[in-house]
């Protein structure tokens, strides 16, 4: 068995070596983990409703589920109800999908599950979103005037530009494998936003945290229940192990 496993690992090693990681876009940053930070999630919910719901829907998310992140129904009704007056309704976008397709070239996708669907080799969906929302740059060649480092030629404008300000990526050319490559070096702030870079990163962290929570609202209780289930099963396993031993003692 041991030999089998070692050979297996060795073979996998050979094969994975042949697999190149084709990165023509920026590597994803790690999104901060805010799933247990209720104030952060609430701030993220506020940002989501104010900035995203105008064009994007979250068709599977009910407003009253926001109670799970510590908001009361009254708070939800007063501050967050958008495009409806019933707190049990789902988050529909303000925009008409046909018009959106006309204006942006594609219907802005529903965001309920975006943090789950965008996961990939580069990291989790949250990592992708965290990087995406922080790597917009001014590009006069585009219809919206904006482009993005992890989603080149994206049809979405930089909705949060007032918070971040305008930036431009800096590249340096290097020789690699005999030909020239442009390597990303850093950002140049062209005009300031309302927030400092640190504040903006924190705000985006909150928003992405909210998106991550919204993609699976049951996740916090899932983990909590799981701990108890596993503890119980641990005890049960010990019982059945001793039961088995008791029967097989004389065989």
């Amino acid at each position: 068995m041991k030999k089998l496993i070692i050979t297996l690992i060795a073979a996998l090693g050979i094969v994975t070596g042949a697999h190149a990681a084709g990165a023509d876009t920026l590597a994803w940053d790690k999104a901060p983990n805010k799933l247990n930070d209720l104030p952060a999630l609430q701030n993220g919910a506020k940002l989501f409703v104010n900035y995203c719901l105008s064009c994007h829907s979250a068709a599977f998310m009910r407003f009253n589920r926001l109670r799970d992140i510590g908001l009361t129904e009254q708070q939800i009704k007063d501050n967050l109800l958008f495009s409806t007056d019933k707190v049990g309704e789902t988050m529909k976008a303000a925009i008409d999908p046909k018009q959106a397709k006309e204006w942006f070239g594609a219907n802005p996708p529903d965001l309920t599950l975006i943090a789950r669907s965008r996961s990939g080799h580069g990291g989790t969906g949250a990592d992708y979103l965290y990087t995406y929302l922080r790597t917009y740059y001014r590009d006069p060649a585009k219809a919206t005037g904006w482009n993005n480092m992890v989603f080149p030629n994206v049809g979405m404008p930089h909705v949060l530009w007032e918070l971040q300000g305008e930036r431009e990526p800096q590249f340096e050319t290097r020789q690699e494998n005999g030909h020239e490559v442009k390597v990303f070096k850093g950002w140049k702030q062209l005009s300031p936003g309302i927030m400092t870079p640190l504040q903006y990163d924190a705000a985006v962290g909150d928003l992405v945290g909210y998106l991550q929570w919204m993609a699976e609202p049951a996740q916090n209780s899932r983990v909590r229940v799981g701990v108890w289930v596993l503890l119980f099963l641990g005890v049960f396993t010990i019982f059945t192990w001793r039961l088995n031993a008791a029967f097989w003692k004389n065989i």
Binding site: K3, T7, V15, S117, N244, I251
Partner: protein, 479 residues
Amino acid sequence: MAEFKEISPNATATAKLVNWFDNRFPTAGAAYRDHMSEYYAPKNFNFWYFFGSLAMLVLVLQIVTGIFLTMHYKPDAAAAFGSVEYIMRDVPWGWLIRYMHSTGASAFFVVVYLHMYRGLIYGSYRKPRELVWLFGCAIFLVLMAEAFMGYLLPWGQMSYWGAQVIINLFSAIPFIGPDLSEWIRGDYVVGDATLNRFFAFHVIAVPLVLLGLVVAHIFALHDVGSNNPDGVEIKAGPKDANGKPLDGIPFHPYYTVHDIFGVAVFLMVFTAIIFFAPELGGYFLEYNNFIPADPLKTPLHIAPVWYFTPYYSMLRAITTEMMYALSLILVLAVLFVIVKTRASGAVKGLLVLVAVAFLWMFNAFGFTGVGLLQGIDAKFWGVVVMGASVVILFFLPWLDKSPVKSIRYRPGWHKWMLAVFIVDFFVLGYLGVQPPSPAGERISQLGTLFYFGFFLLMPWWSRLGEFKPVPERITFAAH
């Protein structure tokens, strides 16, 4: 009524009730005795013998969770995706039932692959258990169909495009292919019609077949008795005063209690995944499936679910080049038979004719450009190879010519053959998940050749080497 068993009027109420029942339904008691309390199984079952009962457990889990999912799921292309999210968010504890079912599907294949591996290493497929193995292979095939159809139901991008690709495979069959695919789909592309019929198959038709096959599998096993890690037939050994094999013990209570422990450990792993990592890195729940199906937009990277990937690799490995390689191997094999064997001239002549026919079908003469000599292209042969890679398992009892059943008493290098086969299976599986690449293609082609060589050459290599003496009695160390 004359055959009714009498019971003393002084017996307890319980005893009288049991007697009343037993007189009218003796089958129940007989079944309990034949399959549990009087079914003598070898004493020396080890770790590899847990997976049969675990497979039954997972089957029950899938059926129960499946029933509850069907209460809320909507098999309509416009509503299916939404109904799954409805289960995840709006149905009380729906998320748990959904994760149990998705994790259970993958767990089913893990358990079944390990169960088959046990059969492989201990020769459980050999006489007199060939039929047990055949029923088992049928279960495997039916399970693959069940999983494939179930995967369409969430109607995500992977569901849709995976189904589209696999059903299109049938269109490779000459003459009837495209019509066959359309008949399976019920439409020009995978759509609502396909979803509805796959739902009917997945929920009731195939599970019924699966249950029937499982019953046959277990009954066929119990009729001849279980194998064991030493490959020694306990029924051929010494018996006790009641005629029961000395090397055996009653399944109940010894193996019921043993299997419950196995269940407990399995449940720990199972629930750890459900509660802490239900997506399991995108292997148990694929990321692309969180996007609703879009018939107009194929995702960048379609791969089947992990448990199909070894076979998918083999499908992808069959390129035009590979067909030339296969043609060459066929020619060499026929030459070998002609030169080295003592078959009659007539048989050899017939063999050459058959080989030429196959070479023609393999498109080996296609390079001449002559219309009539064009064979069937690699796309079809890819499908054939993928099917053959599963079907070849059915033939294992007749391919294995080793004088010894269990790997324990075979020459040491047989273990290496098996190890390479398993590694090959894993490598093919891994490559199936990756996007195609030149290196990957070569490796899967070599992997495919080894996979088939392992089986097709088995009548020869399984007889080679120094076999160890097989003991008369099972080797058993007291617990």
